[in-house]
């Protein structure tokens, strides 16, 4: 293979043949060389020991790559491409691939580029070597060379490559050959993503291409602009009229789809656009025979003009046709689009309820899921029961736990939406929930548990029923306790135990439930569930004692002792549990239990006091309630409440003490007592402050007022200027008196201060009201529920894509400024002057020097 001429010259190169020829004539050391065909055949023949065979092939390939002949290398790379497709990594051959790319024969070059597109990525080092080569190829006279280079480039362009080649690409946009223009335009999109600065200079040229006579070029330009605009629509509003014209004039379906999609993105920003779109879109909908176009039009209409009723009705009719179509794909898409309409026009969709219910029975899982979504929006009080009944049937018959799980969670969502607006009969709902627990292998155990708790707490009327059910669940625990994985059905036990404990007054048989809670099997449950069991065990015990007291039967002393002893026996088991919470609670309980018999001997009656431990109702608190607590007057949260840091450690210890006061004598945090504690805290603070003021060894730091507000001025402001940073021994913070640190300290103090305030406010909250039937979540009085606070961030765009697109959010209207020019790489001319300068300067990036030329 002596001729290394241009592509069009005659060269007998089917690379397979040439390889063989080469091997026979010049390389006698290589005995048997495989062509791509051979490789493929070989792999297929060696299905059993494929890995070994391929390893052997890879060795051969490595050998071949060391040869000088380009043809052999090309074959080798071709084989590598195939292997890469099978999943083997070929990045070690990157340099060889570049070599093949640089070959002047088109077929070889093609193979090289193909390999590059398959295997090069941003990190490949050898990409730097390719820059010049690609540049040459792109501007080559040969149409296909250029085409290859461009197509390949779009797959592996990296940031550096983009930067360097942007200028050349832009000049290609003005090339005379439409083939090249087309490809260049499409590569530009990728370049924009990698090198956002190129967008502004290149954009005018791109816009011109929209009016290019060649339809291929035009559609390419449309494609690129559509893609860009979809991510950052507001920058491209000015182009809307151009696109409008194109849309009405064009017949190329692919392009139409793209344009229509673009309008869907633009329309929300520009209300008049929506109105203008109605007519052409309606025409298109009526006239087109392509379902894809129809679907796109419908989609756009839904997002652009959701309020326009006639067009919505049109869409709904068309979608109905789609859903009725036997083709699964159309059904699926019809349901999907109907779901979007649901948000704006629930009534329109309601009319097709029967259809959607029919789809629930479809054999295709995804269709069923979509119809579930629709149903979610279509339930009301009357049909809830029958719909759920149907869904439960599905749950029983559904194969594949993924779908079943989905069903389970959807059922619950449907029922609980809008604060249980649609559930008329809560007892029925509880029994549904209990049925759900019997579903095997569900991952929504926690959700079921939450729902049970929610309903039981909020709906007083249903509590007796709920408690009965839960007692039954406890007894059947052995069934549920088998599945102990996280979030499994065993979570329901959590709810069951808690409900029984809290509403013990409604239990039929307290002892039985208590015994059920202490079964050894409980130890196999996850830690948090065990701790609930322990806690509720003591609750039940307290209630039991109280009940016995009230009944005033003395012969049951034995029974009482029996129960006490049972508890005492079982607690040590819990104490040795690995979970900290369980240990803690169990040891609390054990201590209390130890007192019981002692007290009994002394004749004191403790049942009453024990029961008082659990006095008071716990009400649900709204998730945002904490934020809504209105600040009492005269309170400035950013003020220093106490003198700084060593204070804080004292406080901490103090509060820890109060918490663990419960070890000896479990001090219940009833409302009055909490307030007492607060007062004590205050007193202590005062005392401390006094002592500090008088203590000459204690240093006070200054506090600058951030806000000068009314009222609280408890803090003595004494500004101290210190040069040396101080160190005051604290547990938590090391203090410096330099001003820079003060602010951060202040913040921490502020937060600390807030923490104290909040604990007292919580008590206020629990004093809130509850309504008769369903207790709403509690909010501080007068606060308004707000939705979605702090949920501003849209979660549509995954971050990987989001970042380059966000970088492209550039205003294109502003005229180009002088420095916004694509960087051009030129040789630096070295003169004696520059050499002198250089030696003194630090090295700067090329780009900075070149831009502005």
């Amino acid at each position: 293979d002596g001729h290394d001429g241009h592509v069009r010259s005659v060269s007998p190169l089917d690379f397979a043949f040439s390889a063989r020829l080469a091997s026979i004539s010049t390389r006698r050391t290589i005995m048997f060389e495989k062509s791509l065909h051979d490789l493929v055949r070989g792999i297929r023949n060696n299905k059993q020991n494929e890995a070994r065979y391929i390893a052997g092939c890879i060795d051969e390939i490595k050998n071949e790559l060391r040869q000088e002949s380009k043809a052999i290398k090309a074959t080798a790379v071709a084989k590598l491409i195939y292997l890469q497709m099978l999943g083997y990594d070929i990045s070690w051959a990157a340099f060889n691939i570049v070599e093949v790319m640089s070959s002047s024969k088109f077929t070889q070059k093609r193979i090289g580029y193909l390999a590059a597109t398959q295997s090069f990525h941003d990190e490949t080092d050898v990409l730097m070597l390719t820059t010049n080569m690609i540049k040459k190829d792109m501007s080559s006279h040969n149409l296909y060379d250029a085409g290859t280079a461009l197509t390949g480039l779009s797959c592996f362009v990296s940031n550096d490559l983009a930067r360097d080649l942007a200028n050349d690409l832009m000049s290609l946009l003005a090339s005379t050959r439409p083939y090249v223009k087309k490809k260049a335009i499409l590569v530009m999109y990728k370049v924009f993503l990698k090198f956002p600065d190129s967008l502004r200079p290149a954009f005018p040229r791109l816009k011109d291409r929209l009016e290019d006579p060649d339809p291929g070029v035009q559609s390419a330009a449309v494609n690129v602009i559509c893609e860009l605009a979809r991510k950052n629509p507001k920058n491209y509003l000015a182009l809307a009229p151009v696109f409008f014209k194109l849309m009405t004039a064009s017949s190329n379906n692919w392009m139409l789809i793209k344009i229509i999609k673009l309008f869907a993105a633009l329309a929300p920003l520009e209300p008049r656009l929506g109105k203008k779109l109605i007519e052409p879109l309606t025409n298109l909908i009526h006239s087109t025979s392509a379902m894809s176009l129809l679907y796109e039009c419908v989609n756009t209409m839904v997002s652009a003009v959701p309020t326009h009723v006639p067009s919505m009705q049109l869409c709904v009719t068309k979608l109905r046709v789609m859903i009725e179509d036997p083709d699964q794909n159309l059904k699926y898409l019809g349901l999907l689009a109907l779901g979007k309409i649901l948000k704006h026009h629930p009534k329109a969709v309601q009319a097709h309820k029967e259809l959607v219910m029919g789809c629930l029975d479809d054999r295709d899982e995804s269709i069923r899921l979509r119809s579930l979504d629709l149903i979610y929006g279509m339930v009301n009080r009357k049909n809830l029961v029958e719909i759920i009944k149907k869904l439960m049937l599905h749950v029983d018959s559904a194969e594949g736990s993924g779908y079943r799980d989905e069903l389970v969670s959807k059922i619950m969502e449907i029922c609980c939406q809008n604060n249980y607006q649609n559930v008329v009969n809560f007892e029925w709902y509880i029994s549904i929930l209990v049925d759900l627990t019997r579903v095997e292998g569900t991952r929504h155990g926690k959700q079921i548990a939450d729902q049970l708790l929610d309903v039981a707490i909020r709906v007083r009327a249903v509590r007796p029923f709920a408690v009965k059910q839960m007692a039954r669940v406890l007894e059947n625990m052995h069934v549920l306790a088998q599945k102990t994985h996280r979030n499994g059905v065993c979570e329901v036990l959590y709810a069951a135990a808690w409900i029984c404990g809290e509403f013990a007054s409604l239990l039929d048989d307290v002892e039985a439930s208590l015994k059920a809670m202490l079964v050894p099997r409980v130890l196999a449950l996850p830690g948090h569930i065990q701790s609930v069991f322990v806690q509720n065990g003591i609750k039940l015990y307290a209630y039991y004692l109280k009940k016995k007291d009230e009944e005033e039967e003395d012969e049951d002393e034995e029974e009482e002792d029996g129960i006490t002893k049972l508890l005492q026996d079982k607690m040590p088991l819990f104490i040795s549990s690995p979970d900290l919470e369980v240990q803690e609670r169990a040891s609390c309980v054990l201590q209390i239990l130890k007192y019981m018999p002692k007290m009994k001997e002394k004749g004191a009656e403790l049942a009453e006091e024990l029961a008082e431990l659990f006095e008071g109702e716990l009400n649900p608190v709204a998730p945002k309630a904490q934020k809504k607590v209105p600040l009492p007057e005269g309170l400035d949260l950013d003020k220093w409440i106490n003198d700084p840091p060593s204070e804080s450690s004292d406080e901490e210890e103090f509060s820890m003490e109060t918490a663990f006061l419960a070890q000896e004598k479990k001090k219940p945090r009833t409302r009055e007592e909490v307030e007492e504690e607060e007062e004590e805290l205050e007193k202590k603070r005062e005392a401390r402050r006094q002592s500090q003021l008088s203590n000459p060894h204690y240093l006070q730091s200054s506090s600058k007022k951030i806000k000068s507000s009314d009222g609280v001025d408890r803090i003595p402001v004494a500004s101290l200027k210190l040069d040396i940073p101080l160190k005051i021994e604290t547990d938590f913070k090391i203090e410096t008196a330099t001003s820079s640190k003060k602010k951060s300290k202040k913040k921490r103090r502020g937060r600390r201060g807030k923490g104290d305030r909040q604990s007292s406010d919580e008590e206020e909250v629990s004093r809130g009201r509850q309504r008769v039937d369903i207790t709403t979540e509690e909010m501080p009085e007068g606060a308004v529920a707000s939705d979605g606070e702090g949920e501003g961030k849209r979660r549509g765009v995954p971050d990987g894509v989001g970042d380059p697109h966000r970088a492209l959010d550039i205003d294109l209207e502003k005229p180009l400024e002088a420095d916004e020019v694509l960087p051009v790489r030129t040789h630096r001319v070295v003169t004696s002057k520059t050499v002198e300068k250089e030696s003194g300067e630090k090295k700067k990036k090329d780009k900075k020097k070149k831009v502005g030329k």
Binding site: R8, L36, V40, I81, R110, V187, N223, V224, S292, S366
Partner: protein
Amino acid sequence: RNENQCSFMEYRTMKVVYRKYASLYFILGVDSDENELAVLEFIHHIVETLDQYFENVCELDIMFNIDRAHMILDETIANGQICESNRTRALAPIAMIEKAATK
């Protein structure tokens, strides 16, 4: 999956669209915004192109000529956008290469 199920699936942030031709599955991953029906039509278009080139394309054809298949694909789409919707024009460069190779 069987015939009674639709050809799209959601996978993480993408959609997967597939079409089955005899023993061959053509699977495409697209954005979640993409019009699925258009993608299906596109798959069909590609298959017809391959058919035109290989004459009654079958799986073996593609496997043995993987590079040609890639080339055809490259001519038709670039960077994820449809570049050439006219089959004959897409196949033209390939024909040229063939001619140059076998001469």
